[in-house]
C-alpha cells in the first residue's frame, strides 16, 4: 500500500488549487454565512489565501512541512475569526507527520492519512467541538474516518480519498438539518435548520481539491 506516494508537486498543486477554489467560491461561502452567521466566511478565506498567494513562489521552495506551516500561519495571522485559527492550525499541523524532510520530497499515503488526522485533531481541540455541532467537523470527521477505514480495508489511495470526499459531502449535507451548538449559528436555534454550515461547505470543497490533485 505504501507504494502510493504523493509527490512534493502534489502538495504544492493543492495549495495553488485551494487559492483558485477560494477565489472562485468565495461568494458562495459568504452567502451561506449570511444566512446563519455574519456573512464573511468567503471573505475570510479570500483574505487568507490572497496572502498565501503572495508568498507561494517563495514558500514552494521549502519542504512540505514548512510550506504547509507557512500557509497555516498566514491563515492564522491574516484571517482571525473562527476559520483563521481553525484552518490555520489545520495547515500548521498538517505537515508534521512527514518523516522525510528534503525540499523535493513528498509523503506516503499513510503519512497523508496521519497528516489529515493531525490537522483535524487540532480543529477539534481549538474548537472544543466534534460532529453534530453544525461545523466544518461534520465534514472533516466522517471524511477522515472513511479515508482511514477504506485504506485499511485495502482500497487504493485515490479511491479511498474519493470515498472520503463523498463521506465529507454527506457530512456537509447533514449540517442542513441540525441546530448549531458551536460558532455564531448556535444563537440561532431552530432558525439554523434548513441551512448548510459555511465552514462544512468550504471543508468539503477543500477535500475535493486534495482528491482531484491526486495522481
Amino acid at each position: 500500500m505504501s507504494d502510493y506516494i504523493l509527490s512534493k508537486d502534489y502538495f504544492v498543486k493543492v495549495i495553488e488549487d485551494l487559492i483558485a477554489l477560494v477565489d472562485k467560491r468565495k461568494e458562495y461561502y459568504t452567502e451561506l454565512d449570511s444566512a446563519i452567521g455574519d456573512g464573511d466566511h468567503g471573505i475570510n478565506l479570500e483574505i487568507g489565501f490572497r496572502e498565501v498567494n503572495k508568498h507561494l513562489d517563495e514558500w514552494k521552495e521549502l519542504n512540505v512541512r514548512d510550506l504547509y506551516n507557512h500557509v497555516g500561519k498566514a491563515l492564522l495571522d491574516k484571517v482571525g475569526g473562527s476559520s483563521g485559527p481553525l484552518y490555520g492550525s489545520f495547515f500548521m499541523k498538517f505537515g508534521l507527520p512527514i518523516k522525510s524532510k528534503g525540499p523535493d520530497e513528498g509523503a506516503t499515503f499513510e503519512e497523508f492519512i496521519q497528516m489529515m488526522d493531525k490537522g483535524i485533531a487540532i480543529i477539534q481541540k481549538r474548537g472544543k467541538s466534534t460532529t453534530g455541532e453544525k461545523t466544518m467537523l461534520d465534514t472533516f470527521i466522517p471524511a477522515l474516518e472513511k479515508l482511514r477505514s477504506e485504506y485499511e480495508a485495502g482500497t487504493p489511495g485515490k479511491e479511498a480519498m474519493e470515498k472520503a470526499v463523498e463521506a465529507g459531502k454527506d457530512g456537509l449535507e447533514s449540517t442542513r438539518n441540525i441546530v448549531a451548538t458551536k460558532g455564531r449559528a448556535m444563537r440561532l436555534g431552530e432558525r439554523a435548520i434548513g441551512h448548510l454550515d459555511p465552514g462544512a461547505a468550504s471543508a468539503a470543497e477543500f477535500l475535493e481539491v486534495f482528491y482531484n490533485d491526486m495522481p
Binding site: 464573511d40 479570500e46 492564522l76 495571522d77 482571525g80 473562527s82 476559520s83 490555520g88 440561532l188
Partner: protein, 338 residues
Amino acid sequence: MAKIKRLFNDPYDIVEEYLEGYVKAHKEYVKMCDLEEAQGRVVIANDAGTKDKVGVIIGGGSGHEPLFIGYVGEGFADGVVIGNINTSPSPDPCYASAKACDNGKGCIYLYGNYAGDVMNFDMGAEQADEEDDIRVETVLVTDDVVSSENIPDRRGIAGDFFVFKVAGAKADTGADLDEVVAAAKKANDNTRTMGVAMSSATLPAKGDVIFELPDGDMEIGMGIHGEPGVRRGKIDTADNVINEIMEPILADLPFVEGDEVYVLVNSLGATPLMDLHVCYRRVAQILEEKGIKVYKALVGPFACSMDMAGMSVTLMKLDDELKELMDAPCDTPYFTQK
C-alpha cells in the same frame, strides 16, 4: 468601484488604511504598537505599559467603531487588538498587546463573547503566559439578552462600553488584576442590552450588504454583526419598538422598582441622533413608570455596525462602586469625561 455607499480604496486594504488614518488623526492619544507580533493590528495609548496599573486590553473585529479603538486613552483602555471587519484578531497581535500593556501587574482582556475571539485571544494569552510570564485574565461581555437563555453563551454588544469603562476606571485606581476582573465581572453581570436593525451593514470586499432585510422591515434582537435576531416584522413606531425591546431587558436581570441605572441608547451606525432621542424619550418614560431611576444616560453611536440602520438599549444596574467608576474622568478620542 462597488455600488455600496462607502468610501475606501482597495477593499482588502481598508482596515490597514483606516488604522493608519486613525493613529495619525489621534496622535495625542495613541500610537501603533511597534512589536513585530503586533502585525500592525495593535493600537496602544501613548503611555501604555508605563504606569503602575493593570493593562486593560480590549478588542475584536473592525467595523464597530468607535468601539473598540475609540476607547483607548487615559482612564479607559491601554490597548486594542483589531481584527478584520467583523472578525476576531489573530493570536499574535493579542499576545503583543499584553507585552505592550503589561507593567508587571498583569493584563485583562475584555471583549464580546464570540467563539472566534475566544479562540484567538486565548491563544494570545497562553503565549503571553508561556513566553513572557505575563498573567492575563479574561472577562467576556455577554449583555445581549436575546442571544441565549444561558448567560455565558450570550453575545457581547453595546454593553461592552460599560464593562470596558468600569474596568478601565478600576485599573486606573491602581487596583490589582483580581480586583479589576471583579469590577469588570460586576459590570457585565449588571448589564443587559437588546437591539433592533432596519438594514444590513455593507461589506467593502463583498461590495454589498451582509444580509438582505427588505425595505421597511426590521429585525428585533439582531446582533451587531448582522446575526439573526428573534423576530422580523414591519418597522413600527419608535414607541412600539422601544416597548418591545425594553420588556426582555427589564425582565431578564430583572430590573425592579428602586433600582438605579445607567442608560445607553446606541446607534448601530445610520440611525440619527434625532431618532435615538425619540427612542430615549420612551425608554425614560418606561423606567419612570416602573420606578427605576435613571442615574445618567448616553445617547449616540458607541458600538456600531458600520452603516447599519438600527439601535440598541443598554441598562446597567448601579451600585456605589459602579457609579464611581462610571463617573471617573477619562480622555479618549471618542469618549471624554471631566
